[in-house]
Chain length 394, copies 2
């Protein structure tokens, strides 16, 4: 059975060209980038080249890019690092639909004496900039609002939030894990002071990411040790990973526009056709969303069961965040945009990639209604009355 | 020019066989290990197989192995994680010759209200177990002493220190980054509660490591987020990295004995011959040291210059820790074993690998005395009197 992968926001395959660039750095040019000899210098140059390539996509200086083990570490570092450096200040502003790497870090900080305002969102998942403005206190030291939501794909009004943060003299961090190489991420246009990225979300390798830190931003390291990354992030540099991150950034940014165009066309048709299924609706905004994201709910269905049914037909999709896929709790994002528990359970996230085709969408559109139907047949609540009590796109 | 790599404690090339095992997990079996569909399950199985292979070498249960981004994160996590979980207790015991991943973490904790005892070492670099015992206080929550020193190769009396820790009811962590797959690391024989390892030190990939955590040990996570590693270490699993760590562990442990035998023979001859150079001496213990480590000092020489001279002749070596190779400070390890500043500056660390040959040692033994001689010729302190005022092996 041919397999169709429609879960690119969970992770993406490593680009073959990126892999070719990485290969020499495993067993041949394998030096430690801190070593003085030629093996070390070769590795060091590869690391700095990777830094330049990432910086170019962010439109920042290379020395503002700090490599981490991924998006989670970058998010943790931004929040905890600034918290540790902002003695006397104790207030954080974030949104209620952040990735858990931000939300759980905030909860950890709350347990350690910090105070957090979790901003509400509207039905599309938008944070209101005026809410951010109203929430700022004298002791607010950071605002963290994601660039694009990992479940429903909503693109937040980052530029405006960043402007407010700057006016108020508060640092602004944004989790860009889902947006980098999918939509423009010029850190100067976005008015961010810190920005998290993760290579495996855009055809780079797993285990590597970066935190953009605007020059002049004061934060403490999260990992102490040998003083790598100019003392800010210790640990032997993951040279092949950094080469891969750099290559994936360059390739991803070059392809971004035409990939987005292609994916939007496929996605929009998928959305139109899928919404013909009775008692289904699209979550997030119809237009202000990631080009590769479609997020649906189907009433009277367990999303997990649908994922397994689709998997049997060779289609890989998810209910929402991969991290939470084994949890029985409904998505916090869906609850915050106003869905009821029973509605939130019936979710399906489709996230397209570069290689997906119209034929694959055709297959999906053939299989999906059948599987939804089959699951509803099995549902203990399948009376007409209950179906119609659910939200509908009509 | 053929290159000879003699800096395996800085990093090692990725084993070809290990790389072959990793390859499918980059672009083919690329799933997120948390995803419910078949791509995810395939990745999950690879992660758990990696965990089992590491556990086998440590002689622990697979669920006691937690993957990290490397040794630095593992060391940071052990110390900070237990500190956060040991409310009310504030005392740490460590040695004064630990890797900076431990020392700088301790210094960070000191700045945050904790108290640290840095134990002295003798001329070989040994920590005295009775010093550990004497240092334990009622509020001591962790003892952290490395298994083998990364510069001079000294193997510490971990079993005994572990016994004392257990008697006193204090957690015992050991940085095993240099020892794993070089000497036996059965965590039960070593009496450790936590043990840090890093794949790239034993022919695995960079950017992946693990912390062994004995069942029942209470510590907080360092990275918060999606709840990976049973809630203890969030962040999308680095699947190819974990596959590589597992494979390198299995291969490394199988080869360990015969590799050690071979390296000891090469190393011991290298030491004997090198010590014929006037005013040179071996640092660390002649026998209780890592099988691949030789660490010399040459009076009247700058180690950094020697490294660059050797590099020009195709030989990659180091003065000590790669992390500190760009620092102008003399090694803290050499100062603690009693060398003077000017002595400590003239150091050379040779760390052999599996592939090094007798012919390479011959070349090294031809080149090294010439380069030492050349540097001494250039030295402003080259009078006979000053030479003889330095420590000698005679």
């Amino acid at each position: 059975m041919k397999k169709i992968y429609l879960d690119h926001s969970a992770t993406s395959p490593l680009d073959r060209e990126v892999f070719e660039e990485m290969k020499p750095y495993f067993s041949l040019k394998f030096g430690n980038a801190s070593s003085l000899h030629s093996f070390g210098r070769e590795a060091y140059e590869a690391v700095e080249r990777g830094r330049e390539r990432v910086a170019k996509v962010l439109n920042c200086k290379p020395n503002e890019v700090f490599f981490t083990s991924g998006g989670t570490e970058a998010d943790n570092w931004a929040l905890k690092g600034v918290a540790l450096a902002s003695k006397g200040k104790k207030h954080i502003i974030t949104s209620s639909i952040e990735h858990h790497a931000v939300l759980h870090t905030c909860q950890y900080l709350e347990k350690n004496g910090y105070e957090v305002t979790y901003l509400p969102v509207d039905g599309y998942g938008f944070v209101k900039p005026e809410d951010v403005e109203d929430a700022v206190r004298k002791d607010t030291f950071i605002i963290s609002v994601m660039h694009a939501n990992n479940e429903i794909g909503t693109i937040e009004p980052i530029e405006e939030i960043g402007r407010i943060a700057r006016e108020k003299g508060v640092y602004f961090h944004s989790d860009g894990v889902q947006s980098f190489c999918k939509i423009p991420t010029d850190v100067n246009k976005l008015n961010v002071d810190m920005f998290s990225i993760s290579a495996h979300k855009f055809y780079g390798p797993k285990g590597i990411g970066a935190l953009y830190i605007r020059e002049g931003t004061t934060l403490e390291p999260l990992l102490h040790g040998g003083g790598h990354e100019r003392g800010m992030r210790s640990g032997t540099e993951n040279v092949p990973g950094i080469v891969g991150l750099g290559a994936a950034s360059e390739i991803g940014s070059k392809r971004m526009e035409r990939d987005a165009e292609k994916m939007i066309a496929l996605r929009d048709r998928l959305v139109r056709e899928t919404l013909k299924i009775k008692d289904s609706w699209l979550n997030g905004h119809p237009v202000k969303r990631l080009p590769n994201n479609a997020h649906f709910c189907f009433s009277l269905i367990e999303g997990e069961s649908l994922i397994l049914y689709l998997d049997e037909k060779g289609i890989a999709a998810s209910t929402g965040s991969a991290c939470s896929s084994k949890s029985l709790e409904p998505s916090h994002v869906l609850l915050r945009i106003g869905l009821k528990h029973e509605e939130a359970h019936g979710s399906l996230r489709i996230t397209l990639g570069r290689e997906n085709t119209r034929e694959e969408m055709d297959y999906m559109l053939k299989v999906l209604p059948e599987q939804v139907e089959k699951l509803r047949e099995l549902s203990p609540f399948k009376t007409k009355k209950q179906l119609s009590s659910f939200k509908s796109t009509e």
